[in-house]
């Protein structure tokens, strides 16, 4: 929880991180994910392949990022203290929907589209979702409002809502704001549950 020191070293690390990611998207969006090698990306970012692996672990990891896991966890923890679990999920989701991304919406949409178009990347994304689903399950249990099985179901539903919202936002209507997509999703859930 200590504030990370903004030393020169930290700056350079962040720069390198973003440079690798940018070059990776640039190369892959023209040639395709499988057509390019990690060495290609490394060369374009002017680092060694070792460095790429040290930063991202896997080739897929370069294209996946999670800037929402932390705020989502915090938001949900708060909401869980004041209402029923499912309502807390919807509330947290709505807040998340209004947060905005660190790059323009159109660009983010394009990246999501790219990930979804590439089977290997979709699979890797599913993996990170799985992990987060597990953390959510623990969170629900610790919040004390549900037994483990209900927590598991709740976590699965939550990830489904997140995924559905992202997909709806990305593929349904290119003009829609993300918060509108989230609203559509929660409305649709009510329809499914018949209430």
């Amino acid at each position: 929880m200590a504030a990370p020191p903004v030393t020169l070293r930290q700056q350079k690390k962040r720069e390198t991180f973003l440079r690798i990611q940018d070059q990776a998207f640039r190369l892959a969006e023209t040639a395709g994910f499988t057509a390019i090698t990690v060495e290609d990306i490394a060369a374009a970012a002017r680092v060694s392949a070792s460095t790429v692996y040290r930063y991202f672990g896997t080739k897929e990891g370069i294209f996946l990022w999670d800037e929402f896991e932390l705020p989502a966890t915090e938001l949900l923890t708060v909401e869980l203290e004041r209402q029923a679990p499912l309502d807390a999920v919807l509330a947290a989701l709505t807040s998340l929907g209004g947060m905005g991304f660190h790059i323009p919406d159109d660009e983010m949409r394009q990246r999501v589209r790219f990930v979804y178009a590439e089977p290997a990347l979709r699979a890797a994304m599913g993996e990170t979702f799985q992990v987060f689903e597990g953390k959510l399950t623990d969170l629900f249990v610790e919040a004390g409002s549900t037994d483990p099985l209900a927590a598991r179901i709740l976590a699965g539903m939550t990830m489904t809502l997140v995924a559905a919202a992202v997909e709806f936002w990305t593929f349904a209507d290119p003009q829609m704001s993300f918060s509108a997509a989230v609203e559509h999703t929660t409305t649709s859930l009510d329809e499914v549950l018949g209430r």
Copy 2:
């Protein structure tokens, strides 16, 4: 839909398929998934590595099987004609729960445990779930009872229920029947939905 001819060739193919899978589980359950190579498995099953890849595609594929996708789809299609989508899902799930596996329950439980213990296998399983989720979405849309977004949510919920039931059956109580686990799961869903 034509009944597959039970020629000698087909028999041998089935035998080879099962022999590879059995040897793979046998080797991996002692040495670990990552510790053994595809060549090890091939040698133990007395085939070439090429053949293993022709049968299973990937190393993970050897350990994953789906004997439920087809009956699940058929069951669900029928149920969707006579009741609301969510109820149809629960009905189909209950029917599925009573089907039984092609190997003893304990052995199946052990295999599931093994898959869940091995990150690479869990990830691969998630991939097949993702694919089936997509098919379910299409199924719900074609059944005509929901719009695409609701269908997507419904499909996600369905896969969550399946996964939750399997996990509960595998890890909660070693004596429980699978159908009992399914019943617990549907009950738990009602609890989550507050009804």
